[in-house]
């Protein structure tokens, strides 16, 4: 009872302007079923909004869903904003349509994992668990 009841907290956000939020919702639901607390922020989030939500919710993980092709513009900006909040150790995961050639660059920037269409939600959940332990 009195032992610490630490739960993994995940922020799921969709930056940018594409309206395809089905993937984000599927992942949110799957992580819920994996016992995590998922804060779902919905569509059209700016990097500032994402960083602010991460700060207020003190999340362990941020999952970004980008299907617009704007990931190379958005990801660095989001990472920078999160750094500015002073939060430490927040792991960023990215899902959506990400071309192979962009992946090394994104990893280098500090994106922890990248998932394309067809990824099993179990894989995502277990990667998040590993990353936040």
């Amino acid at each position: 009872m009195e032992k610490s009841q630490k739960k993994i907290k995940v922020l799921i956000a969709k930056p940018g302007l594409d309206g395809h939020n089905r993937g984000a919702k599927v992942v949110a639901r799957a992580l819920r079923d994996a016992g995590m607390e998922v804060i779902y922020t919905g569509l059209r989030q700016t990097p500032e909004m994402i960083a602010e939500a991460a700060l207020q919710e003190d999340v362990d993980v941020i999952g970004l869903s980008i299907l617009s092709g704007a990931h190379m513009a958005l990801a660095p900006k989001i990472l920078e904003e999160i750094n500015n909040t002073g939060l430490e150790g927040v792991k960023i995961f990215l899902g959506g349509i990400i071309p192979e050639e962009d992946k090394p660059k994104l990893k280098e920037l500090g994106v922890h994992g990248i998932y394309g269409p067809g990824t099993s939600t179990k894989t995502i959940a277990s990667d998040i668990r590993k990353a936040s332990s």
Partner: protein
């Protein structure tokens, strides 16, 4: 390591981390809360409850915006929001979606929104919601909006936490018999019919008005929560009994467009003034703190009892119970008084 000084001056990262400590029930979190407690008691705590889909989050968003950018002659106030959503009873996980509706105040340093999962509590709040509210109170937030889990009929914990409780109704949620049942409608200091642009809204308003007419505001106040704690309340003095009560108003809003929200904030403020001028504020505070202590006392007693009872006795009793050799009543007797 959270420093009390950082919280008191409103450092957002320190606040956020402390909230996590408290949610997780760590000793660090508890210690800091102990130190913060003398700095609490200033904020106006406003509860927002109602069935799922009545528009609680959307209204909270509008309320926060109205507090920040008053459309009438009011000073802007800083606002903290604690939004509770249910935890899955199966996985222990949760999807907290209240933030989706709270975009209008994004980027405002005078607003802090925190989502929390109920983590197994059934009364519409989480066990640690009161603790989170105390942190925001100590950090100097002037208004704290607490949005409960989408509530049915009996999730009335919010009255023990909030100074002012708003109960939201939306059109098309059942006939007038629903309005005479005990529970959630009774706890309202202000009733709000949201989605007033929807068909049937006028009927809902009429049902609620009829229900309220049958209330005696005096009685309602003194018997507010029924017997919810096994420990006796502080006695109410005769002079307190004779003070005029609050007649809960019914307001109509369309949260999506903001219609009626300015008026609602006006009434919430009136309720606060009523509580302060009639000394109900301190009476409410007394009871609120007492209930918090009682809840904690019950929890700790249970833990203490469990730690002092052999688990073999528990298992043995449970086995007998499952085989229906003894009744639940007898089982409890065995556990508390030993197997004689």
């Amino acid at each position: 390591m959270t420093s009390v000084a950082e919280i008191l001056k409103g450092d957002r990262l320190a606040i956020s981390r402390l909230l996590t400590e408290i949610e997780n029930g760590t000793s660090e979190g508890k210690r800091t809360l102990n130190e913060l407690f003398p700095h609490t008691g200033k904020a106006h705590i406003v509860g927002i409850t109602g069935a799922p889909g009545t528009g609680k989050s959307t209204l909270v968003n509008r309320l926060a915006y109205e507090y920040r950018h008053p459309s009438r002659d009011r000073p802007p106030l800083s606002v903290a929001v604690v939004a509770v959503d249910p935890t899955s009873p199966f996985s222990g996980g949760a999807v907290l979606g209240d933030r989706i509706r709270m975009r209008d105040v994004a980027g405002d340093p005078g607003v802090f929104i925190r989502s929390m999962a109920s983590r197994g509590s059934l009364g519409g709040l989480a066990q640690t919601t009161a603790g989170l509210v105390q942190v925001f109170d100590a950090a100097g937030f002037e208004v704290i909006l607490v949005e409960t889990v989408g509530a049915g009929q009996a999730e009335v914990d919010i009255v023990d936490l909030a100074h002012t409780t708003l109960v939201l109704e939306a059109p098309g949620m059942g006939d007038d018999v629903q309005t005479i049942k005990a529970g959630i409608l009774e706890i309202a200091d202000i009733l709000v019919v949201n989605k007033f642009d929807r068909p049937g809204a006028k009927n809902t308003l009429r049902f609620l008005k009829n229900m309220l007419r049958q209330f005696d505001p005096e009685e309602r106040y003194e018997l507010h929560h029924g017997q919810r704690s096994p420990f006796p309340d502080l006695p109410i003095t005769e002079s307190e009994k004779n003070k005029p009560g609050w007649d809960p108003p019914i307001l109509t809003t369309i949260a999506t467009s903001g219609e009626g929200v300015s008026e609602l904030v006006e009434r919430i403020t009136n309720h606060r003034n009523f509580l302060l001028s009639s000394k109900r504020w301190s009476l409410k505070e007394e009871r609120r703190i007492k209930r918090e202590m009682d809840t904690m006392l019950q929890r700790e007693l249970l833990i203490k009892w469990r730690d002092s009872t052999s688990s073999t006795l528990y298992q043995r009793t449970l086995k007998k119970l499952v085989k229906r050799e003894i009744s639940p009543q007898r089982a409890v007797q065995f556990l508390l008084e030993g197997d004689q």
